[in-house]
C-alpha cells in the first residue's frame, strides 16, 4: 500500500503549527505595540472616550492626510517606474559582474538614506543657494521664480524618489531574475514581437511583483517623516509630521491620545490601499499559482 504524501502517522499535527512561530513573534513585537498605541486612541484624560477622534474632522488634519496620500502615491508611482527601468537595465547585464554588485549595493544603501542629511544634500544641490540653482541663475534661468517649490509638496516628491527608486530596484530585481530567456525565444518562434512579449508574457508575470513593489513604496513614503521635517519645518502639511508634532511638542501642545488616533487612521488608510491592491492582484495574477 502506498504511503500517502506527508506520511501516514502525523495526522494529528495541524498544518498551521509550522507557521505558529512567525505569528507568535509578530504578535509580541508588532501587534502588541500596535494595540498599545491604537488603544491609546480611545483613551483621554477622563478614561475611555472617543474625544480624540473629534479633532479628526478639522480642516488641517484632513488636508494633512490628503497630502500624505498624494505624496506617497506620486512618489511610489514615479519610484516604481524608474526603479523598474533601472532594475531591468541591471538585470540584463552580467549577473556576476562588478557593475551589478555596485548598483545593488548602492541601491541598498540609498534606499535607507533619508532624514536631515538627505534634505541637506538636496538643499546643497538645488536649494535656494544650491550650486545647480546658482549655475542656472548664471545661465539666466531662475527655477524659483514662482516660489521655492523644493520646500513644498512638489519638492518632497522629488526628494522622496531619491530613496523610492533604489527600494524598487531592490524588490523588483529578483522578479526580473526569474524571467527565462526561453520565453522570449518561444514568443519569437511563434511570430510575436517585443510588444507581444511584454503584453502577454513578461508583463502579466511581472505585474504582481511590480504592484507589490509599488505598494511597498507607498507605505514607505506614508510613514516617513524625518526628511519632510527637515525640509518643511513649519506647519505640519503631511500626516506623519502631524503625528510627530503631537508627540513631541515642547510648548504644551503634545497630546499622545490624538497622536494615537492619527496613527490609527494611518493604519486604516494603508489597510484600504492593501485591499485595493489585493483586488488588483487577483485580476493580474491569473497566470501564476
Amino acid at each position: 500500500m502506498r504511503r500517502p504524501l506527508g506520511g501516514g502517522r502525523r495526522l494529528a499535527t495541524p498544518q498551521w503549527i509550522a507557521a505558529a512561530p512567525f505569528f507568535l513573534y509578530v504578535g509580541i513585537f508588532l501587534l502588541l505595540p500596535t494595540a498599545i498605541v491604537v488603544g491609546g486612541a480611545f483613551v483621554d484624560s477622563n478614561g475611555l472616550s472617543l474625544s480624540n477622534f473629534a479633532s479628526m474632522n478639522q480642516r488641517f488634519v484632513i488636508n494633512a492626510f490628503i497630502n500624505s496620500v498624494v505624496l506617497s502615491a506620486t512618489s511610489a508611482i514615479i519610484g516604481a517606474v524608474f526603479g523598474a527601468l533601472l532594475a531591468y537595465a541591471v538585470a540584463t547585464g552580467n549577473p556576476n559582474g562588478v557593475f551589478r554588485r555596485l548598483v545593488s549595493s548602492a541601491c541598498g544603501v540609498l534606499a535607507q538614506f533619508g532624514g536631515v542629511t538627505l534634505a541637506f544634500a538636496f538643499i546643497a544641490t538645488i536649494g535656494g543657494a544650491g550650486f545647480i540653482t546658482l549655475w542656472l541663475q548664471q545661465q539666466g534661468m531662475n527655477i524659483y521664480a514662482n516660489g521655492v517649490w523644493l520646500y513644498q509638496l512638489r519638492g518632497l516628491v522629488l526628494v522622496y524618489t531619491y530613496f523610492q527608486i533604489p527600494l524598487m530596484v531592490l524588490v523588483f530585481l529578483p522578479a526580473l531574475d526569474g524571467i527565462r530567456p526561453q520565453w522570449r525565444e518561444a514568443t519569437e518562434s511563434l511570430g510575436g514581437g517585443t510588444w507581444h512579449y511584454w503584453r502577454y508574457i513578461a508583463g502579466p508575470l511581472l505585474a504582481p511583483a511590480f504592484f507589490g513593489g509599488t505598494l511597498l513604496l507607498f507605505a514607505n513614503a506614508f510613514s516617513a517623516y524625518a526628511t519632510a521635517a527637515a525640509l518643511i519645518n513649519q506647519g505640519s502639511i503631511i500626516a506623519s509630521l502631524l503625528i510627530a508634532n503631537t508627540l513631541t511638542s515642547e510648548v504644551g501642545l503634545a497630546n499622545p491620545g490624538i497622536a494615537s488616533a492619527l496613527a490609527l487612521v494611518m493604519v486604516v488608510l494603508v489597510a484600504i490601499v492593501m485591499v485595493l491592491y489585493t483586488v488588483l492582484q487577483r485580476r493580474t495574477s491569473r497566470w501564476l499559482q
Binding site: L5, P95, G108, L167, L173, Q182, N220, S240
Partner: protein, 278 residues
C-alpha cells in the same frame, strides 16, 4: 537575440545608467564638496572634517554594535521568514494575504509611534532579560519584514515550489531536506537580497535606537555631527560609503548565476542552476 535588439538594449541601458546615475551621485557630490570647505568662503579646501572622524573613539563601539545587530537581524529574518513563507505557499495559501499584510504593517506605523508602543515591552525586557543594545534585534527584525518579505516573495514566485517539493517528497526527502537542500538553493538570489536589505536597514536605522536611548551607528553619527557643520556632513557621507563597501563585500557571498539574456545557450534552466531536479 538579434543585433538590432541588442543594440537597442545597450542604448537603453546606457541612457538609464547615465540619467539615474547623475540623479543619485550629484547630491552626494554636493555633500562631499561641502564637507571639504574651509572655515571661510575664501579658505582653501581641506580634509579636516574627515580627519576628525578618524579621531573619535566612541564611534568604533557603535560600529561594532550595529554590525552585530545587522548579523543577528539577518539570521533571525532568515530563520523566521523563509520556512514560514515556503510552508504557507505550499500548504496554507489562504494565509498568504494575512502574512503579506502583517509584513507591510511595520512600514505603515511611523517609528516614533512604534516606540511609544514598544516602550512597555522593552521596559519589561530590560529589567528582566537584558539591557544590551543587542535586544534591538527583536524590533529590527520587525522593521525589515516588509523588505525581506517582498524580496523572498518574488524569489519564491519565480520557481515552481509545488513541483519541487512534491518531487523531493516522492523521492523520500523529509521537510527539512526539502526546504534546506531543494528550495532554498533555488531562491539563493532572493535570500541574498533579503539579507542585503536587512543589513542596509539596520545600518541606517536611527529613530528607534535613538528614542530607546541606545547608541547605534547612526546615533553616534548624529552626536558626532553636532561638532560642526562640515564634520556633520562628512560623517554622513562616510557612513554611506561604509555601508556601501560592506554591502559590496557581502554581495560576493552569493552563488554565480546565469544571465537573463545569455549570449550563448549555457544552462537551459537558469533558475535551477544551484541544484534541484536534474
Amino acid at each position: 537575440m538579434s543585433r538590432n535588439r541588442r543594440l537597442k538594449l545597450q542604448i537603453f541601458r546606457v541612457a538609464v545608467f547615465l540619467v539615474l546615475g547623475a540623479f543619485f551621485l550629484v547630491p552626494i557630490g554636493a555633500m562631499f564638496e561641502f564637507s571639504t570647505r574651509g572655515v571661510t568662503e575664501q579658505a582653501p579646501r581641506t580634509l579636516n572634517a574627515w580627519l576628525t572622524i578618524a579621531q573619535t573613539p566612541d564611534l568604533v563601539a557603535a560600529i561594532f554594535a550595529s554590525l552585530a545587530l545587522a548579523v543577528l537581524t539577518s539570521l533571525g529574518m532568515l530563520l523566521l521568514l523563509v520556512p514560514t513563507m515556503i510552508w504557507v505557499r505550499l500548504r496554507l495559501p489562504h494565509l498568504s494575504r494575512v502574512i503579506e499584510f502583517l509584513c507591510l504593517l511595520p512600514l505603515t506605523i511611523p517609528a516614533i509611534v512604534l516606540v511609544a508602543g514598544l516602550a512597555p515591552i522593552y521596559l519589561w525586557m530590560n529589567l528582566n532579560i537584558s539591557d544590551s543594545i543587542l535586544t534591538l534585534a527583536f524590533v529590527y527584525l520587525i522593521l525589515v519584514l516588509p523588505y525581506a518579505y517582498r524580496a523572498l516573495y518574488t524569489g519564491l514566485a519565480a520557481i515552481d515550489v509545488k513541483t519541487l517539493a512534491e518531487a523531493a517528497r516522492s523521492l523520500g526527502a523529509n521537510w527539512g531536506t526539502v526546504m534546506l537542500r531543494v528550495i532554498v538553493p533555488n531562491m539563493s538570489v532572493a535570500i541574498l537580497n533579503a539579507c542585503l536589505l536587512s543589513v542596509a536597514v539596520v545600518l541606517g536605522e536611527f529613530t528607534i535606537a535613538n528614542l530607546l536611548n541606545y547608541v547605534n551607528l547612526q546615533v553616534a553619527i548624529a552626536l558626532l555631527g553636532r561638532a560642526n557643520a562640515t564634520v556633520s556632513i562628512a560623517v554622513a557621507v562616510a557612513s554611506l560609503l561604509f555601508a556601501f563597501i560592506l554591502l559590496v563585500i557581502l554581495s560576493f557571498f552569493g552563488r554565480p548565476r546565469a544571465r537573463v539574456h545569455p549570449e550563448d545557450p549555457g544552462l537551459p534552466f537558469p533558475g535551477l542552476a544551484g541544484g534541484g531536479l536534474r
